[in-house]
């Protein structure tokens, strides 16, 4: 941006008209139908990017209203998995369109209105009430203020399914008694480190899968990387952003950028596609016109790596020699593959582990059906999507399904049980960590 330009660029998230150009890019070819998980289940045009873009067009031109319950319902019948962007010939940035529309609703009607609108799709009055409370807690939209830990789920997840009565069989990991960041020092020191990294844990790893986070730290240690884990870091903000809450993600983003800056690290490491995506893309976009934070966001975007890409491409990691006997298949988390463009690296790592037999599943990059409040508001569709994933997993004959995103771990874990899969669900980094650990014993 040249210094003399006075007009602040319009941000699509702040001004809806700014998405018109993005809408115009869509040539209505329907290519997105081939990959959209929601469409695969329901088979209607309003499920898929092409239809949603047409509706957005109708909203901009005034023939439909943004706060029409039907429009709101359609907007939230989307996992923002970005699969459609992969197969789009004209590279329509559908993620931006969707989030700009959601942000516009919040701007016009406010968050409480939106929350009510989303959960009013749960027709059962009792469900509505509980869905409002628990669903909102789950997806972060209940939290308007950023507390010490940003967005922290309060109720043990394991309780959610039954209480909300969606399904007797809902299996979720329990909330860890001590979260990851409280278990670890703020700096894991290494003598003569090869690199100095900051670890952005994300909420799911912090609260549900602290062991995975510890595995990640262990792997960095094994590779002589010094790790900072600042306690001041908060939720990445994606869970609120997908519900249109621009203000909160900006608050969270500032706080995170400051926390990471204070570490003085050279790299930022994530083990979750959504968090890493926020650092690589969303922060840059939401702060594009911010005089102070635009630079910081740019700076860290260029230094953010998923742990697998960091190991393979930046520090050329030490190949493990400890045996892990397992038949492993890998699920591409949407945001890891489609936002962070990481898909080759975790597979290479898995194949490097002695004892691992790797089996590729069909449609490994098809969404697992997790995504914000989606699983609560559109339980049937989400479960149908997950069933396809479970079937792909089962067809491989693997005993372990690895992935690179805690939210996918949760969703797959829950649905394996529902659809009779017996596989273990692990973050790929845990398999590598186990291999390193087994080196001593062999």
């Amino acid at each position: 941006m040249p210094a003399e330009s006075v007009a602040r660029p319009q941000l699509a998230y702040d001004e809806l008209q700014a998405i018109q150009k993005e809408l115009d890019k869509c040539m209505h070819c329907g290519g997105c139908m081939a990959v959209c998980p929601v469409y695969a289940t329901n088979k209607t045009e309003a499920d898929v990017a092409r239809g949603k873009i047409a509706v957005a067009g109708a909203v901009l031109e005034g023939s439909l209203k943004l706060d029409d319950p039907e429009v709101v319902d359609m907007l939230f019948n989307c996992l923002v998995c970005k699969s459609c962007m992969q197969s789009c010939p004209t590279k329509v940035d559908f993620g931006r369109i969707m989030l700009a529309l959601r942000a516009a609703i919040v701007r016009e009607k406010g968050l409480p209105w939106l929350k009510k609108a989303i959960f009013s799709t749960l027709k059962h009055p009792e469900l509505f009430d509980r869905g409002m409370k628990l669903g909102a807690a789950l997806s972060g939209i209940a939290f308007r203020k950023v507390g010490e830990n940003g967005i922290a789920p309060r109720s043990p997840f394991a309780f959610v399914g039954k209480a909300v009565d969606f399904d007797e069989n809902r299996w979720l990991p329990a909330l860890a008694p001590v979260p990851l960041r409280d278990r670890q020092p703020e700096l894991v020191k290494i003598e003569k480190p090869v690199a100095r990294a900051a670890f952005f844990t994300g909420c799911s790893m912090n609260y549900f899968y602290p062991e995975t986070g510890e595995d990640l730290i262990q792997v960095l240690k094994e590779n002589r990387v010094e790790v900072a884990i600042p306690k001041k870091q908060a939720c990445c903000g994606i869970p609120v952003f997908v519900h249109g809450d621009l203000e909160t993600i900006r608050e969270l983003g500032r706080r995170n950028l400051d926390a990471m800056e204070a570490t003085g690290a050279e790299y930022l490491i994530t083990g979750c596609g959504s968090c890493g995506g926020a650092w690589q893309h969303e922060y840059k976009e939401i702060f594009a016109t911010d005089p102070e934070y635009a630079k910081k966001a740019e700076y860290w975007a260029a230094r953010t790596y998923d742990i697998s890409a960091f190991l393979l491409d930046v520090i050329h990691y030490r190949k493990p020699t400890g045996k892990v006997e397992a038949v492993v298949t890998y699920h591409d988390s949407c945001h890891l593959k489609k936002t962070m463009k990481v898909s080759r690296e975790p597979r290479e790592i898995l194949k490097d582990v002695p004892g691992v037999t790797y089996k590729e599943m069909a449609n490994a990059d098809a969404c697992c059906g997790s995504g914000g409040s989606y699983v609560l508001t559109h339980f049937g569709t989400a479960t149908d999507i997950a069933e396809r994933k479970v079937n792909s997993v089962k067809d491989t004959g693997a005993d372990t399904v690895a992935t690179g995103c805690p939210a996918c771990m949760m969703q797959i874990f829950d649905n394996l049980h529902r659809f009779g899969g017996e596989q273990k669900v692990r973050h790929y980094i845990s398999i590598l960590a186990e291999s390193y650990r087994n080196e001593q014993s062999s």
């Binding site: 040539m27 209505h28 329907g30 088979k43 209607t44 309003a46 047409a54 439909l64 039907e70």
Partner: protein, 473 residues
């Protein structure tokens, strides 16, 4: 007229969840993949799951004088699914079962909503394939592609959809369900109804089941890419290859504008000064035959001053194909409106047509790239324009008129594979004449006297009132 009582009856027929009436749904069934055509808004979308339901919907619509627009995936490029006169959009996507793949008879039986690629996946398990491959194989339905008689990249060697349809079950306007054709290679019983309904664009009846032919999938293939300093060298190569009695599975051409845009967009290493590019792929069951055919192609390319690249691995093949795959996306990225035509000429006039297209683009000061299936004379002149610029859109319309006139002058046709729909209806008489139009109307009036099926498409009627009078007789 559609009122709430009728909606209620529709719900009783197909189930509440399969009747869509919300404003959002009405907007999303008002378009297809065609640019620069008016959109419509249906009254209701109905998604039947059985042939019986289709019959009941047809009976109900007929009694109430309501139009029915059959719809597959809505990827056609001639406005064929747009609900121009209100009424029912009948989405067949939930009738998506592959009834059987019969490896012994080399046939498959499918419901209309099956995606072409899904049939291919099922056939591949038996080492078989369903050859018609429009650019939309992963989204388009069997019903839609049969109703459009779709072509694709392998047309030269393997033919188009009509060569693979052996039989059908169709729901007629009177509500009857008829079956014809079947699994036998030979069948001369009755009229050849399959060929009547192939390419009928939803105007004669609703296809509820298709029996189609499968082929053993070729085991070997060789891909090559040649670039040329002149269009006529490329055109001569095409003729030379055919004269050498080699029928490539793929023989695609890209013009200079397309080459430059693709290179800009995808950086695949094309020489931007090349006037034309050919992508050639030979395939077959015997390695030796394929190798011999590839050699013949190499000779033809060299003799005609082409600069050749040959793929020696799957990865290299992908790299060569990347240029062709990027053609439409790259062009489309240039502006907000993509007018994609498919005027087709006899193979021997490919060079003439390419030069004519360039002259038309220059005359109307338009951005136009041309690519397409050189082997079968089927070109895709693609105009990129700004829909908000009225002057430019007017020039687009004039240019399109001239493109069609040129195709007919060279002994070609208005549409090689995209169909007539609403987009090309006004030109139809130029090709088939008044007697041809009369025959179209006679057939339409005989099978669908109330013009219930896909009104306003394919068959031009002078005026609606007149048509009503003529079939009321």
């Amino acid at each position: 007229m559609i009122d709430s009582a009728l909606i209620q009856k529709l719900r009783e027929i197909v189930g509440t969840g399969n009747v869509l009436t919300s404003k959002v749904n009405l907007v999303t069934y008002g378009y297809d993949a065609t640019a620069d055509v008016p959109q419509g808004r249906p009254d209701v979308i109905v998604m039947p799951t059985t042939a019986e339901q289709v019959q009941q919907v047809v009976n109900l619509a007929r009694r109430n004088g309501v139009a029915i627009y059959s719809r597959g995936a809505g990827t056609n490029l001639s406005g064929g699914t747009i609900p121009v006169e209100k009424g029912i959009v009948l989405s067949l996507q939930k009738m998506n079962k592959i009834v059987e793949v019969d490896a012994e008879n080399l046939t498959a039986v499918v419901q209309p909503g099956v995606i072409i690629q899904e049939l291919n996946n099922a056939a591949a398990k038996h080492g078989l394939m369903y050859p018609p491959d429009p650019g939309t194989v992963t989204t388009a339905t069997m019903g839609g592609s049969v109703a459009e008689n779709s072509g694709g990249l392998r047309g030269l060697k393997y033919g188009v959809t009509k060569h693979y349809v052996m039989g059908m079950e169709v729901v007629l306007a009177n509500g009857d369900r008829v079956r014809f054709g079947g699994k036998t290679v030979k069948n001369v019983t009755a009229y050849d109804f399959s060929n009547l309904f192939v390419g009928s664009e939803g105007t004669l009846g609703i296809i509820v089941e298709i029996t189609c032919k499968l082929l053993p999938a070729p085991k070997y293939r060789r891909a090559m890419l040649a670039t040329y300093k002149s269009v006529s060298d490329a055109g001569n190569t095409v003729s030379a290859i055919i004269k050498a009695q080699v029928i490539p599975a793929t023989l695609e051409i890209l013009d200079n504008m397309t080459i430059r845009t693709v290179e800009d967009f995808a950086h695949v290493g094309l020489p931007v000064e090349a006037e034309a590019l050919l992508l050639i792929e030979v395939d077959g069951m015997a390695e030796e035959v394929v190798a011999r055919e590839a050699e013949a192609v190499v000779r033809c390319v060299n003799e005609n001053h082409g600069n050749l690249r040959v793929a020696n691995s799957d990865a290299e093949r992908d790299a060569l194909w990347a240029a062709r795959r990027a053609a439409l996306p790259a062009l489309a990225s240039l502006n907000n409106t993509v007018v994609l035509e498919d005027a087709t000429v006899p193979r021997s006039h490919i060079t003439d047509m390419l030069l004519e297209l360039r002259a038309i683009a220059t005359k109307y000061k338009l951005t136009m790239g041309t690519f397409g299936h050189a082997g079968d004379g089927n070109l895709h002149p693609t105009i990129l324009a700004d829909k908000n610029n009225k002057d430019e859109m007017d020039r687009v319309h004039h240019a399109v008129d001239e493109i069609f006139a040129a195709a007919l002058r060279f002994g070609g046709t208005l549409s090689g594979e995209h169909g007539i729909g609403i987009a090309k209806m006004k030109y139809l008489g130029n090709e088939i004449g008044e007697t041809g139009l009369d025959l179209m109307r006679t057939l339409k009036n005989a099978l669908d006297p109330a013009h219930m099926f896909n009104p306003g498409k394919l068959v031009p009627f002078p005026k609606k009132e007149e048509a009503e009078v003529s079939h009321a007789r």
